[in-house]
Amino acid sequence: MARSRRRTALPAVLLVSLLATAACSAAGSSSRDGGVGDAGEPRSGGELNFALASDPVCVDPHQRATNDAIYPARQLVDSLTDQDPETGEIVPWLATAWEVDDEARTFTFTLRDDATFSDGTPVDAQAVKDTFDSVVALGAQAALGSGYLSGYAGTEVVDARTARVSFEAPNAQFLQATSTSALGILARSTTELPAEERCTGNVVGSGPFVLDEYTPNVSVVQSRRADYAWGSSLWRHQGPAYLERLTFTIIPESGVRTGALQSGQVDAIGGVAAQDEASLAAAGFTLASRPNPGLPFALTANLSRPLPADEAIRRAVSLAVDRQEVVDTVLSPSFTVATGSLAHTTATYTDLSELLPHDPDRAAALLDDAGWVPGPDGVRVRDGEELRLTAMWIPNFGPNENALQLIQQQLRAVGIDLRLRTVPLPELPAAQEEGDFDYFWGNTTRTDPDIMRTAFSADLRNIYRQPSGTPLQEALAAQNATTDPERRAATSAEAQRLLVEDGSTVPVFELTTVLGVADHVHDLDFEASSRIRLHDTWVS
């Protein structure tokens, strides 16, 4: 059948060098992609107290998708591969090598032979099979992992060190997915447990830290494994982690988190509010930030509604938005304007900023041509109907409301009346299903361009009501059906262009993860998806 290729690492390098040029030109902003800097020789020992903004609820890396659940879970598990945050390259971790067939349907991983779980059992091909089987069995409870494994046909244990994962249809994104904690490898003693028993603490992985205790709403405590020796090839040092103990303290109030850091009650905090950045920086704390890959914060059109179904209106909305003003006014210097359908830290990112100018005059001209004339109160009217659009949004990111109010004013300047409708997070899925909105405001974090297919494929949830059979749908399917990096980059770039060209999505700014870190904490690094990794972190 398909011709097998030895190690996709080589094509990945090619792909990456192609991207790197693009990524570098865009990454020259004020943000620091590298975490917190060095200060002398790393020292082994000590503790780190990191404040999380919300309760993880479940400590199983497979079951929760929030940042605050991933931060502690990431330290417990190793993945088959790792992804270079600078280049997007997929590199060895538990797997030393892998082969992908041309159709991107069969992935064969060769495992290193020295890794063990913290219960002493070996990390072997059977463990890989058990892990993936259990993610599929979890189904909707493993929201991320089961999506990555959609079309999973099974894992074959070729021998103790070789596992072959196959899919019913092409699934190119799977290779990157193996680098995420959502597909981190767990011991059989964990995978054979029912979902709920894993949530509260029965999680055995092979990671540099072991879970000691999870107290809901209070803390997650972990300690290092003294015999750890199979770190990712990307890490600064091999062997056991420097820190002896990690405590993730849950502090929901952002003001209390900031104060706790400033008064020395914790060593680092997540979820730094944009308004607190300046005062933390002034007080001598390091702000570690990295733009999240994936879909930037954007207004995305619901194509089943009559007004956003009109391309002239969609393009006018895009032209009317002044992205720089949004970043300058409601965010902090850590944030950057969106320059395409994907954030610039995403693999295969294409700079489309020339398609995203701020040009209110052209927006007005487009609307004039479409027959929308200014009404008595400045809102445009056509055949007695006012140009009124509803944007639905969720309060999952502090500055959302202010950003949208500013965009509201910017659209009003060209005669578009944008109404804002907020939905509580729990009601979001139902509201998206219902489709009672013209635009949805939101973002999604993922390093693989396949996130566009997740959001816009007519065959999946399709909350934006994209029609099937369009060039966009073809491009989205094509980028997931090839392992050829050039072809993948080309089809992904095509999808990125199509999405912004007709205003289907109006990207505004990239989400940036901002951490506040005390100056005695060093080498607190970000992985490719802008989540923290603490193996190399040390305290002085």
Binding site: G139, A143, S150, A195, E196, P252, G259, P429, T454
Partner: protein, 319 residues
């Protein structure tokens, strides 16, 4: 007395049933359900299929018609079984039992602060002779009631913990961690107590028996503490039964601000994820506490005021 008790118990059961039903109806009417929330992966795009979602709904019995879910949950609840949390599969009863001690500790400390502070303020306000001072003291409770708990908590944290470094800002460990949350939680409760107690003290001091005591040469302290307080204690005691509900409700905010574990935080998390079994369990538990507290207050009343016992005995006699 037995008839009074029987009537109150029947009433209590009705209150419990009504709160359970109301909570179920509200949760059921919300447009989303816990499985959809779980599948949404925290608001970000996920590729979970409809079949997978349907499967999970079946696991939790959420695919059943509403009346059936209601009857089954009600029957289980009547046996004390509230099922398992949808969010993490923990038995609801165990979660409540585990988070309760921390909240009881907090509420108990807050109650002590409220009773001492509120009672003391009321006594002081009725004791002082200077008009302006009395007015100033009497207007303090209004301030305490109207200051938002959330704001007071953050203010205390900023000043006492971050600026002066006297007490920890978060957590459950150690006696010092409970001081700020207890004061924050006690403020609105103590203020209401102070208002009610001050009012009833003034009424009692104006009663003829107080005049009589004065006339017989009793000292001001004897009139105030001996005669008036005992008669004036009943209204604040009755209000206290109602305020227990406030303490539980206030713990939702206070435990979040001070990053404490407990029933309040558990409630906030459960409501946010629309964890139906968990919310039903907590609501029913809250109703039970409320009912028991009020029953206790009703039983204590006659001990303070023998007239109440006589009244009840009278009403218990068939007409």
């Amino acid at each position: 007395m037995a008839r009074f008790l029987a009537r109150r118990i029947v009433q209590s059961v009705l209150v419990l049933w009504a709160s359970f039903t109301l909570a179920f109806v509200v949760l059921y009417l919300l447009p989303s359900d816990p499985v959809a929330i779980m599948a949404a992966g925290g608001g970000e795009a996920s590729a979970v299929t409809d079949e997978q979602v349907a499967e999970l709904r079946e696991t939790y019995g959420l695919d059943q018609p509403a009346w059936r879910q209601y009857l089954e949950r009600l029957a289980d609840a009547a046996h004390g079984d509230f099922g398992q949390s949808v969010a993490n599969g923990e038995p609801v009863g165990r979660v409540i039992a585990e988070s309760l001690p921390a909240t009881l500790q907090l509420a108990g400390c807050a109650l002590l602060v409220a009773a001492l502070g509120g009672g003391g303020l009321a006594l002081a306000a009725t004791w002082v002779r200077r008009g302006w001072l009395r007015q100033a003291l009497l207007s303090l409770p209004a301030l305490g009631v109207s200051a938002p708990t959330f704001w007071v908590g953050l203010l205390l944290v900023q000043l006492v913990s971050f600026r002066w470094g006297l007490l920890p800002a978060f957590g459950n460990e150690g006696w010092d961690a409970i001081v700020l949350p207890a004061i924050t939680l006690a403020l609105p409760v103590g203020s209401v107590l102070a208002q009610v107690f001050a009012k009833s003290l003034r009424t009692a001091l104006a009663e003829p028996y107080a005049e009589t005591a004065w006339a017989k040469g009793a000292s001001p302290a004897r009139v105030h503490l001996g005669h008036a307080v005992r008669n004036a204690a009943l209204p604040p005691l009755t209000v206290l039964g109602l305020l227990l509900g406030n303490l539980l409700a206030g713990s939702v905010v206070v435990e979040s601000v001070f990053s404490r574990t407990g029933l309040g935080r558990t409630t906030a998390t459960a409501v946010n994820s629309q964890d139906i079994p968990m919310v039903l369990g907590i609501v029913s538990f809250g109703a039970l506490v409320f009912v028991l507290a009020n029953l206790l207050v009703d039983l204590l009343g006659p001990l303070l005021d023998p007239r109440l016992a006589a009244e009840r005995a009278e009403r218990a006699v068939p007409a």
